[in-house]
């Protein structure tokens, strides 16, 4: 067929391959840890590798398919118990997966040739050969013959030549063989002549004996389904057959009932999270296999945007309706608009749930990385994960995977000690890294915990001091944990020596920035000698937020409701001045909170009030930092559709995103963390400015 574009399918295959590799890797990692493989796992592994081979060959990745065929062959023998699994195989097979990935990418890039294939696969093929031939003492010795069929020279003709070769016969004499190519065939002859294959009728016999009567009847009919000559034309009768005939004795697979989309309750305690998640995972993956469609995320984004526009239009209408002077009409219209708003909100929720995917999709990337790194570093680590079924916005996964990966690399590299060191301090020689996810209060909380040596706050703070991120005064005042938190500062690394594991020029500051970009915050708690806990709190979605309109002068801003702690009109006694009197602090229940004047931050804004006592203070929180925003007044609360600024305009410090208001104007959404950072910069700048003046 002309115009069959293989390259398009290649792309698809590469995407699909990532998932298949992940699935196979995870089974193999488990096998490596447990030293065993269940039949179910072997079946899964075989299917993964089999699909990799079949699909790879279909898109003409011949080298890839060649080697994968060898691995598949070994898997096939394993699952059929021709050879028995021994623990060493896991590591060989993991290496095979790695080589397969490499070949795949080289070949897709057009950089593969036979020599490369030979050198890349030589050792592994020898290992596989060893297992198959029983050279390894514990593998089955009866397989000497199969070695031959797996040597490199032999594999090439096992499938690579999809041209007309051997192996296909035609069984139906009535069919003109010239009509056929050799890539397919029909089973005709044997059906006419069952004796030629004795088991065919036996098999049928056996099945009809065990099958219930209804089925038996069908088998009788089967006797004359045969093919071309006798195959009945599709008669109207046939079409009228009921499709839902009862099927006694045919066990209905459990998986056909799709699991309902669950609102994930917060994981109550980590101890009981394990088995529950296991169940969730199973039902989720089965459901996904039977009742899912793949949709491009862009399409869902578009849908979300459409609903966003509906929200905005609804707001416009509501605003307009309030101006209707005739009371009865106004009330009636507003009532119906409220109903409309409720429907839109439900629609939003439905779309949100479409965007959600289980955390498992992130977790599954970690075991392989952890294995590779810990092997490299000669460390022993156990990886635990909880909340696999907790759902997260698909749009966030991309932004979240890298930071999590980085944190885990760091834990492995700098946190977890070597087995010897661990034993010395009385710890179990195997370290633990665990990650958990839960939803609470409309937020996603992800916790990464390790039982390594913790972070030396003083060391970090010293570095931060050296970099000028803090001054001596601050250094003296900070507690141990605050000092450790400084690892999130730019250029602050605890690594004594840069390693190729985590010292890739990316520090924890990038992790913080990335989490920040997702609208999240990151916290760290560490205890020297006992480990580190990193907590990431994220909004459930990036698409919509509840906001509060605030006014400064003639400008309006939107403040995310989730950031607000409280609001108040301060009295004179509550305001303390520090420094030379330009910096204000709000004293609230024995706590000093820095005051940020929004009109100073956005300096083209002329406020109504300059005196703190005249306006309002809104205490907001981001991470463990609180500030009090000084504004003129706050207006009303409403839901806004978040439109990222940097995609449409450029990023502006202190402004997180934008939205379209009910009246069609653009509303700016404040970014609390950004404001805190900006304020700190201003303070530092002022300080330096003053220092310079003095000197």
């Amino acid at each position: 067929m002309a115009g069959f574009d293989i390259s398009m399918y290649r792309e698809m295959f590469l995407e699909e391959a990532v998932e298949l590799f992940e699935s196979a890797d995870n089974v193999l990692l488990e096998a490596e840890n447990n030293g065993s493989l269940t039949d179910e796992q072997m079946g899964q592994l075989f299917r993964d590798v089999h699909t990799l081979k079949g699909s790879g060959a279909s898109v003409e990745l011949v080298y890839f398919a060649k080697f994968t065929h060898e691995v598949e062959n070994m898997m096939d023998k394993l699952r059929n118990h021709v050879i028995e699994f021994i623990p060493e195989m896991a590591s060989t097979l993991i290496d095979c997966m790695d080589v397969m990935k490499e070949i795949l990418h080289l070949e897709a890039a057009g950089e593969m040739d036979q020599d490369k294939l030979d050198s890349m696969t030589h050792n592994l093929l020898a290992e596989i050969k060893g297992y198959l031939s029983g050279t390894h003492p514990s593998s089955a010795p009866s397989e000497t013959v199969s070695v031959e069929s797996t040597s490199t020279t032999q594999i090439s003709d096992s499938f690579a030549d999809k041209s007309e070769e051997d192996s296909i016969g035609f069984f139906d004499d009535s069919i003109d063989p010239t009509k056929f190519n050799k890539a397919y065939g029909f089973f005709k002859e044997e059906y006419q002549n069952p004796q030629a294959f004795g088991f065919y009728s036996d098999e049928l016999q056996a099945r009809s004996e065990s099958a219930p009567t209804v089925a038996t009847k069908n088998y009788e009919e089967n006797d004359n389904f045969g093919f071309f000559d006798e195959m009945p034309a599709i008669s109207p009768d046939n079409k009228e057959l009921s499709y839902e005939k009862p099927e006694p004795n045919i066990e209905k697979p459990k998986s056909v009932t799709p699991a309902p989309i669950k609102k994930q309750a917060p994981v109550a305690s980590k101890a009981d999270a394990g088995p529950k998640d296991e169940d969730d995972k199973k039902s989720a993956s089965l459901a996904s296999a039977t009742n899912n469609i793949r949709v491009n995320l862009d399409k869902i984004d578009t849908l979300m945007n459409n609903v966003g526009d509906l929200v905005i239009t609804n707001a416009m209408l509501t605003q307009f309706a309030t101006s209707i002077s005739e009371t009865k009409t106004r009330v009636a219209v507003l009532e119906r608009l409220e109903l409309l708003e409720r429907h839109i909100r439900e629609m939003q929720d439905s779309i949100m749930s479409i965007r959600m995917v289980p955390m498992e999709s992130i977790y599954s990337k970690f075991p392989k990385v952890i294995r590779d790194i810990s092997k490299k570093l000669n460390k022993k680590v156990e990886f635990k994960h909880y909340g696999d079924a907790v759902e997260i916005d698909k749009a966030m996964i991309e932004g979240l995977t890298d930071p999590l990966m980085h944190i885990i690399r760091n834990s492995l590299d700098h946190g977890i000690e070597t087995p010897e060191d661990r034993l010395k301090v009385g710890k179990n020689e195997t370290g633990t890294i665990s990650i958990s996810a839960e939803q609470a209060n409309g937020q996603m909380i992800i916790t990464i915990k390790d039982d390594g040596k913790g972070i030396d706050g003083n060391k970090v703070a010293a570095k931060a001091l050296e970099k000028g991120l803090i001054d001596e005064n601050q250094f003296a005042q900070m507690n141990e944990n605050d000092k450790a938190m400084l690892v999130f500062g730019a250029g602050v690394s605890t690594a004594d020596a840069i390693t190729d594991i985590s010292g890739r020029g990316v520090g924890m500051d990038v992790v913080k920035t990335n989490i920040h970009k997702l609208g999240g915050i990151i916290r760290l708690e560490t205890e020297l000698g006992f480990g580190t806990v990193i907590t990431i709190v994220l909004p459930l979605t990036l698409a919509i937020l509840d906001g509060l309109d605030i006014a400064v002068g003639d400008k309006k801003f939107i403040l995310p409701l989730s950031a607000i702690v409280e609001s108040l009109q301060p009295t004179k006694e509550m305001i303390k001045k520090i420094g030379d009197g330009t910096q204000d602090l709000l004293m609230l229940r024995e706590e000093f909170i820095p005051v940020v004047k929004l009109y100073q931050l956005f300096n083209d804004v002329e406020p109504k009030y300059h005196n703190l006592e005249d306006g309002m203070l809104i205490v907001v929180k981001a991470g463990n930092q609180k500030v009090a925003l000084f504004i003129d007044e706050f207006l009303h609360q409403h839901q806004v559709v978040v439109k990222p600024l940097d995609k449409n305009f450029r990023s502006v410090e202190g402004i997180g995103a934008a939205t379209v208001r009910g009246d069609g104007s653009i509303g700016l959404i404040l970014d609390i963390l950004g404001i805190i950072d900006a304020q700190k910069k201003i303070d530092r700048h002022d300080l330096e400015f003053k220092k310079k003046k003095v000197s």
Partner: protein, 122 residues
């Protein structure tokens, strides 16, 4: 127009098959992701031809064929097995399960169409 069902766990392969079939004039093609899905779909509509992969999660192709053959409406419909294995053993298994014929993977679009044309022309 003939209604076709293709059952394969690989999205890419399903896409390729659908595309190849549509190029050959078979645009009424339904896709299923595994045997369980295939069986469900086969029950909810009547297909003139089913092409199924062998190795799939949840329910493999051979089991699917067996289940289909138990249904009166599929007792004599053509079912083709799509397989990478063209050993005699594999063929015997396919035959025993009740398949009409087999097509090797990777399939050649023209040959696929030829096979489909043959089974559907009868």
């Amino acid at each position: 127009m003939a209604k076709l069902l293709i059952v394969d766990d690989s999205t890419m392969l399903r896409d390729m098959l659908s595309y190849a079939l549509s190029e050959g004039g078979y645009s009424d093609v339904v896709e299923a992701v595994d045997g369980v899905d295939g069986l469900e779909k086969a029950k909810s509509a009547l297909f003139d031809l089913i092409i199924t992969d062998v190795n799939m999660p949840n329910m493999d192709g051979l089991t699917l064929i067996g289940e289909l053959r138990k249904l009166p409406q599929y007792s004599s419909k053509p079912i083709l097995v799509l397989t990478t294995e063209r050993s005699d053993e594999m063929k015997a298994k396919g035959k025993a399960a009740g398949a009409t014929g087999w097509i090797v993977k990777p399939f050649v679009p023209d040959q696929l169409l030829k096979a489909v044309n043959i089974v559907l022309s009868r």
